[in-house]
């Protein structure tokens, strides 16, 4: 298994995971304290089934509410066609098998442009410049 960088398409050796949030767990199961505790290690969210979309909500919650700014990995059953959804919800990487890498790169390249704003983080911005006028007000705890 390897880590696929959802922004650049590069492959990375797997890093240290400090905490795994189970896809089906409640959002209150992960707290700001958990995040502080893991230090520089990565956070992972596990998808039990690719069609169980709770991991996307968990990722946004971790980014927007808990203001997590570190590495966020999608683990478990995720398919290449979800690459852009994962990236835009705040994941930085997907854990995939090496042989799947070409499909992930291709899926990433084929993703249509973003129709809506999701996160304000530079790492989550659409690859095509967002045509919407940038809103002048930003929430205080937006990650950079």
């Amino acid at each position: 298994m390897t880590w696929f960088d959802l922004v650049t398409g590069d492959l990375l050796r797997r890093g240290v995971i400090g905490h795994v949030h189970a896809g089906g767990a409640s959002l209150s199961d992960i707290t700001a304290a958990d995040i502080t505790r893991i230090g520089g290690a990565a956070l992972a969210i596990r998808f039990d089934r690719f069609s169980d979309g709770r991991g996307f909500t968990a990722a946004r919650h971790i980014r927007e509410v808990l203001a997590y700014t570190g590495t966020l990995v999608a683990q478990g059953h995720v398919i290449p066609d979800q690459a852009d959804y994962l990236r835009r919800c705040g994941f930085t990487h997907a854990e995939i098998s090496l042989s799947a890498a070409p499909q992930w790169r291709r899926a990433r390249a084929l993703a249509p442009p973003a129709m809506q704003r999701v996160l304000d983080s530079p790492r989550a911005r659409s690859l095509i410049p967002n045509r919407r006028v940038r809103s002048p007000r930003r929430r205080d705890h937006q990650p950079d």
């Binding site: 959002l27 169980d52 996307f56 509410v65 398919i79 499909q103 084929l110 129709m115 809506q116 809103s135």
Partner: protein
């Protein structure tokens, strides 16, 4: 109507290219059917009884004449020359080959159309009052918001894998013509006491096995916050909706389980966290979209033109047609003309490719080139001068489309049923035709007045039988098609779910049963009260007795 800019065009083209790659990978075996199925569904491709069915999106039911001609061409070149307009304002083609689907999506993109999110566990086509922008009773044009919500919900990365499908409808009129009470989220444009415009939000309505009338979630959300509010609702649903049982996975079940107050509180808490963020539209973007829906320039026209009065006097058929199908317009000199897709031998809502082209011509010749698809499976030509109604009727008749009467007992809503659908227990289309034929006397139809008959081929209720004056539900009784009758449903502002009146009937008995119900109503009504008013006043006991107690003999009588 909304016109695509380069961004929108690039979007649908890229989406079509993405799907082409997905189809190629599936055919090569790089994607399993399990992995491919949600991707295929979210491009509208549904494996049905005979073949793949493609459900093409008609956003909030609005089409240009050029788009309708484009759809005719696709029906002709890739299918069997006809399509079916649905209760969600989309169009379905029934014999699509998977290998052709990428070419079809490419061709759809050339006239700004697609099949995105018309199926699958995602936010579906946002439906709207088909008279939006032309209605006599609306606060403002709800299509602006339908388009805004459409864009916000299209390939939304967080909500592509919901527990189940999600349906939103918007209404802005005093009369709710979008059935908002039967949607997962119903939005009604309202004015606050301070004359601010916003939305009253309803949640948890639906048909299916557990029909529900939607409950009020919020009495007023300012317009500018609608997207962040919806996002909060979707987030609660995505996180907490059931995923263990597809029959318990809709938001209505979650609202039942939590209770409406707890649900509202959860939404409000989440909304509080996101409402000042990046989700809501900047003013500039709102104005860009709203500009597409500026009212058309309509010349002054007489509300009582002589030509119309003469035609009504000389042609009883035209007089009947205009009384039922010439709907009021916001300008007194204009009307919104219903072109009914209900006629003898026609599956409700079906139109051939040549008929679609004829409808496009009617819109160009007598309207403003725009067509609306209705929840009742008809089409409307909006903005027709009243003095042009005789000519429109004449041209519609030439094309075989001048017959049906909007809103009467013959205006049947029917799902495709077992003739097309994998899920059905019984056929709906032959029965729809038999009932239609039974009420083929125009005077009798006029005497009966407004009466909605809906037929569903199975408990999934795609024919919306729960929301009908007379609902018919197909069931399987030891391998033989049977039908259960419900009475007293309603789709508008005072939404209600029909009540089952007794055991089911074999198909050949049903037309006579309907006949008995009608006879009893006509005999017992007070003055000219509608069927709905009669049922509201007297309940269903009288009808039950007429249908069952006089024996099943009464039902067998004719």
């Amino acid at each position: 109507m909304y016109r695509y800019d380069e961004f929108d065009r690039a979007f649908v083209e890229r989406r079509a290219a993405q799907f082409r790659d997905q189809v190629d990978r599936r055919l090569r075996g790089e994607l399993s059917e399990d992995e491919f199925k949600p991707l295929r569904l979210q491009n509208g491709l549904y494996l049905q009884l005979h073949a793949y069915m493609l459900r093409i999106a008609i956003p909030y039911g609005v089409l240009s004449s050029g788009q309708l001609r484009g759809l005719a061409g696709i029906a002709r070149d890739f299918d069997r020359g006809f399509g079916h307009f649905t209760t969600r304002q989309n169009i379905q083609l029934n014999w699509i080959r998977l290998v052709d689907a990428p070419d079809i999506l490419d061709r759809l993109a050339t006239f700004d159309m697609h099949a995105i999110q018309t199926s699958g566990n995602c936010i579906r086509n946002v439906t709207c009052d088909p008279l939006a922008g032309a209605a006599h009773d609306e606060i403002e044009d709800p299509r602006v918001w339908a388009e805004i919500i459409r864009q916000w919900s299209t390939l939304h990365p967080e909500f592509a894998f919901l527990p189940r499908k999600f349906k939103i409808a918007i209404s802005a009129g005093a009369e709710d013509r979008a059935a908002t009470g039967f949607h997962d989220i119903g939005l009604r444009l309202v004015k606050s006491r301070g004359d601010e415009t916003g939305f009253r939000i309803l949640v948890g309505g639906g048909q299916g096995r557990t029909p529900r009338v939607a409950r009020q979630l919020a009495h007023f959300v300012p317009k500018r916050h609608i997207l962040s509010y919806l996002e909060a609702v979707m987030r609660i649903y995505n996180a907490a909706g059931r995923r263990d049982n597809i029959y318990k996975a809709r938001i209505k079940i979650l609202v039942d389980a939590m209770g409406i107050d707890a649900f509202a509180e959860a939404v409000n808490t989440e909304w509080g966290l996101i409402k000042d963020g990046a989700t809501d539209l900047p003013e500039l973007e709102y104005r860009r979209i709203a500009a597409h829906f500026a009212p058309p320039d309509l010349a002054e026209a007489s509300p009582v033109p002589l030509a119309l009065a003469l035609a009504q006097r000389h042609d009883a058929g035209f007089a009947r047609w205009v009384r039922q199908n010439g709907l009021p317009h916001r300008l007194p000199g204009y009307a919104n003309a219903v072109i009914s897709l209900k006629s003898a031998g026609r599956p409700p809502g079906d139109a051939s490719a040549s008929e679609m082209e004829a409808i496009a011509d009617l819109a160009d010749d007598h309207g403003t080139g725009e067509i609306r698809v209705t929840y009742q499976q008809n089409v409307i030509i909006p903005h027709v001068r009243r003095d042009a109604l005789p000519a429109l009727y004449r041209d519609a008749r030439k094309a075989g489309l001048g017959g049906g009467e909007n809103g009467l007992i013959s205006d049947i809503i029917a799902c495709p049923g077992l003739d097309y659908c994998n899920l059905a227990n019984a056929r709906s289309l032959p029965l729809a035709d038999r009932i239609f034929q039974r009420f083929d006397d125009p005077q009798r139809r006029a005497a009966i007045g407004r009466l909605q008959v809906n037929i569903s081929g199975c408990i999934n209720a795609c024919g919306h039988h729960h929301a009908a004056d007379i609902g018919i539900l197909g069931v399987d009784k030891k391998g033989v098609e049977h039908y259960q009758i419900t009475i007293g449903g309603r789709a508008g502002e005072a939404a209600a779910i029909g009540r089952i009146i007794g055991p089911s009937f074999a198909e050949h008995e049903v037309p006579a049963v309907i006949g008995t119900i009608i006879d009893t109503y006509l005999a017992c009504r007070e003055g000219d009260e509608s069927f709905a008013a009669y049922v509201a006043r007297t309940g269903t006991d009288g009808l039950k007795a007429a249908v069952y107690d006089d024996g099943v003999a009464r039902a067998h009588a004719s």
